[in-house]
């Protein structure tokens, strides 16, 4: 197709998408989520935050636009990549909330489309896309965090079935999920990555137990998932036995993207901006935050946010122009996590001794919310790839600095 005809056709499509969004997205779904409690995860335990949220989800689901580039049979709209990009751009531009938050559609789904058998695709994709099944991820183990390749959860194949024994830790939402995709060890090779296999496991299987872990913030979204002689059909294996690491790497790349590129649309506001909180809690003189040092710290956080947003725009502009995004994607995750930590810390400092409350009747709710958010934000620089690992990756893969040459005894 001539480039100008193709872009004309895309423009017409864009207009149609915009019109559909205007007609079908309820106004309440155009604001950022106020908290993660409003997210819709799908699956057996899910509930909608509001009737509008349900309406928005059902409309997007039926249009196939939750996964626009997936085949129609699998719950998608069967559209080409450029059209899917237009839809995503327009949804983002309009400020629409994501109707479904799902590890399935964003991470496992793309992997299934590329590596799954027809049976696997038929069984899992459509329920995932339609919000019927909620997935969680089983990678880390108590002894295998940043050093994931050293994982030990064992799976032994016999007569077409795997028997799985071991433990997974930090499985987000496992207590509310239906299925888990796991990395298990089926053998040993030269490198620790050899002998790792990718398995899909039904959490209702006998022998699976899930225990939420209480964090320092009082929340329990992460779990320990224990497998005690759990039987898993061989048909639930993605790819060849012992070749699961490559599949996991592909998934990890999607995970890092998910953390940063869409972070803005999922951003939960705590209501008041940092500056407003400062003025309210610390005071103001002539409309300015009363403490000049705190004022400067507020500006620094705001300017860093501006730079981060400008970088996201730059990445999106490159993608929209059909170019591969540059090396700037490599630092988005760690930078945003540190920025968020500085923000929650500052907000807490504005509260002074009113920011020390865990629970109780004496101080109003917004005060102890800020405290919990500060504590919870400590995980941001650890989960999804620690900052230290991110910096290693930037140094070696982006900057080309040499591998450490540790002395061998």
């Amino acid at each position: 197709m001539q480039p100008d005809i193709a872009s004309q056709e895309l423009d017409v499509f864009r207009t149609q998408v915009r019109a559909w969004i205007e007609e079908n997205c309820p106004p309440s779904q155009l604001n950022p989520f106020r908290s993660q409690a409003e997210w819709y995860w799908g699956g057996r335990t899910a509930h909608f935050a509001s009737d509008d949220a349900r309406l928005w989800f059902e409309r997007m689901r039926d249009k196939g636009w939750i996964v626009p580039d997936w085949p129609v049979d699998y719950g998608g709209a069967g559209l080409a990549a450029e059209h899917a990009d237009v839809i995503r751009t327009e949804l983002r531009g309009a400020g629409c909330r994501r109707p479904l938050i799902s590890l399935g559609t964003t991470m496992l789904g793309p992997v299934l489309l590329r590596h799954g058998t027809n049976g696997q695709k038929a069984e899992h994709l459509r329920p995932m896309a339609r919000g019927k099944i909620r997935w969680c991820q089983g990678y880390s183990e108590p002894s295998a965090g940043s050093d994931l390749a050293s994982l030990q959860c064992k799976a032994v194949l016999d007569n077409g079935q795997y028997t799985v024994n071991g433990q997974k830790i930090w499985t987000s939402g496992a207590h509310q999920s239906d299925w888990i995709y796991c990395l298990v060890r089926t053998g040993r090779g030269e490198k620790p990555q050899d002998g790792i296999t990718f398995l899909l496991i039904d959490l209702k299987s006998p022998g699976v137990s899930v225990t939420p872990i209480v964090l320092i913030s009082g929340e329990s979204e992460f779990c320990i998932t224990t497998f005690d002689n759990v039987t898993v059909p061989e048909a639930n294996r993605i790819g060849a036995e012992g070749k699961g690491w490559a599949i996991a790497k592909e998934l990890l790349a999607y995970e890092r993207q998910m953390y940063s590129l869409d972070a803005r649309s999922d951003r939960t506001g705590s209501g008041m901006s940092l500056a407003e909180t400062a003025k309210t809690m610390v005071g103001s003189i002539d409309e300015k935050i009363a403490d000049p040092l705190l004022r400067d710290e507020v500006v620094q956080v705001e300017l860093d946010r501006l730079a981060y947003d400008a970088t996201i725009s730059r990445v999106n502009a490159a993608i929209e122009a059909g170019q591969a995004p540059g090396p700037e994607v490599s630092f988005l995750k760690y930078f945003l996590s540190e920025l968020n930590q500085r923000r929650t810390d500052l907000r807490l400092r504005f509260h002074g001794n009113a920011g020390l409350t865990w629970d109780g009747d004496a101080t109003p709710e917004p005060d102890w919310r800020a405290t919990r958010e500060y504590l919870r934000s400590k995980a941001d620089s650890i989960a999804g790839g620690t900052t230290e690992v991110q910096l290693n990756i930037i140094a070696k893969r982006v900057l080309g600095l040499p591998e450490s040459q540790s002395k061998k005894t």
Binding site: S284, K288, R295, Q323, Q405
Partner: protein, 370 residues
């Protein structure tokens, strides 16, 4: 924020030109009054390639390019520590004189700027810290026009300027004037700064100005000044981006070559993490600089706020780059022979000129209403 093909051509051409024409050795030579190349020659050369009128309208002989293009040129020049009048003359004075409906005198000056025949230095500052609102220089109204008295400092390229643009109070009201550096009563003394640039001090002793020298007054003057300084701040941020990049590349190359304890020092995790964070800062600056340059061209309303966001970050990043550059080079980074020290020196000057990071963060907060 993706460069068009045409913009990429401008950027590549600027890179080749800068690699060819400028080197750190120029700065070593410039330290002595007699050995450095006159700015007038540099300016004339730049006019041959169209840079001296890059952002001026075609009616003055300019190329009518945007600031995104000029920014690409400045970034390339920054990498080579090029010393040119581009920002003071073109970005600041050129913008200021082009505003509104320029009279015949201003048109002549702009045309001379585009042909590389006139250097026009902005002369607004009077204190050791950036404060364009602070003006003690004054002009009293006289029979033939005005009499100018006062003092301006840190006027870059002042020693070779044909004209300077001066801010003065006339009966308490802010006014802008074009002053010929040859005019009786104008004295110029100069310093060579640590980055080998020349900065001048101008003294005005009853300098006679006529209405032809008048540029703007009152609100018009204030807004023209604010705009020109905002554009100047964004342009110098583009230059600082180039300076930071070059210091970074020179340093990572060093990390990959230098061997100590039997290994390349770039394999040490502490240095790797430091380099990764430094890389992040530069890329974040790149995002804000390009956003700001594009905003000038788009005629964005609150360009002041963005300019301060940009200059504050650029000032911090360029200083960090100069300092990390020396530290990671070790002892050799402290020698005059090695080029890296000159990046710190240029960084020091640029982070200060037109307002340092603290000034711009405060200004950002003022404009943002907190």
């Amino acid at each position: 924020m993706v460069l068009s093909e045409a913009q990429n051509i401008v950027a590549n051409q600027a890179r080749r030109y800068a690699d060819d024409q400028f080197s750190v050795d120029d700065l070593r030579r410039r330290r002595s009054d007699t050995l450095g190349r006159p700015m007038r020659e540099t300016w004339k050369d730049l006019s041959k390639i169209g840079y001296t009128g890059a952002t001026l309208a075609e009616e003055y002989g300019g190329s009518g390019l945007g600031f995104l293009e000029l920014g690409c040129v400045l970034e390339a020049f920054g990498r080579r520590l090029a010393t040119t009048p581009l920002i003071p003359t073109l970005a600041i004075s050129g913008t200021l004189l082009s505003r509104g409906s320029p009279d015949a005198r201003r048109k002549d000056i702009l045309t001379a700027m585009a042909t590389g025949e006139a250097i026009v230095a902005p002369a607004f500052e009077e204190r050791t810290h950036f404060d364009p609102c602070y003006v003690e220089t004054c002009a009293s109204i006289s029979r033939d026009g005005y009499r100018l008295n006062g003092r301006k400092r840190i006027v870059l390229d002042g020693d070779e300027a044909d004209w300077i643009i001066v801010s003065a109070l006339v009966e308490g009201e802010l006014m802008l004037f074009v002053v010929s550096t040859n005019a009786p009563g104008v004295t110029c003394t100069h310093d060579i700064l640590i980055d080998s640039r020349v900065a001048s001090v101008f003294e005005f002793d009853d300098v006679i100005l006529t209405t032809a020298d008048f540029v703007a007054s009152g609100r018009t003057a204030k807004s023209a000044l604010d705009d020109a300084l905002a554009i100047g701040a964004i342009c110098v941020s583009a230059e600082m981006l180039g300076v930071a990049e070059a210091a970074f590349h020179m340093t990572t190359a060093h990390l990959k070559e230098r061997i100590q304890f039997g290994v390349k020092i770039g394999s040490f995790q502490a240095l790797q993490h430091r380099a990764a964070r430094w890389f992040t800062e530069i890329e974040l600056l790149r995002s804000v600089v390009y956003k700001s340059l594009a905003a000038i061209d788009a005629g964005t309303e609150d360009i002041d706020r963005l300019a301060s966001a940009c200059k504050a970050r650029a000032s911090d990043t360029v200083i960090r780059s100069g300092e990390e550059g020396i530290q990671l080079h070790g002892g050799i980074g402290m020698t005059d022979d090695h080029d890296i020290g000159f990046y710190l020196k240029r960084a020091r000057v640029l982070q200060q000129w037109l307002g340092d990071a603290t000034w711009h963060r405060q200004r950002y907060a003022d404009l943002a209403g907190y």
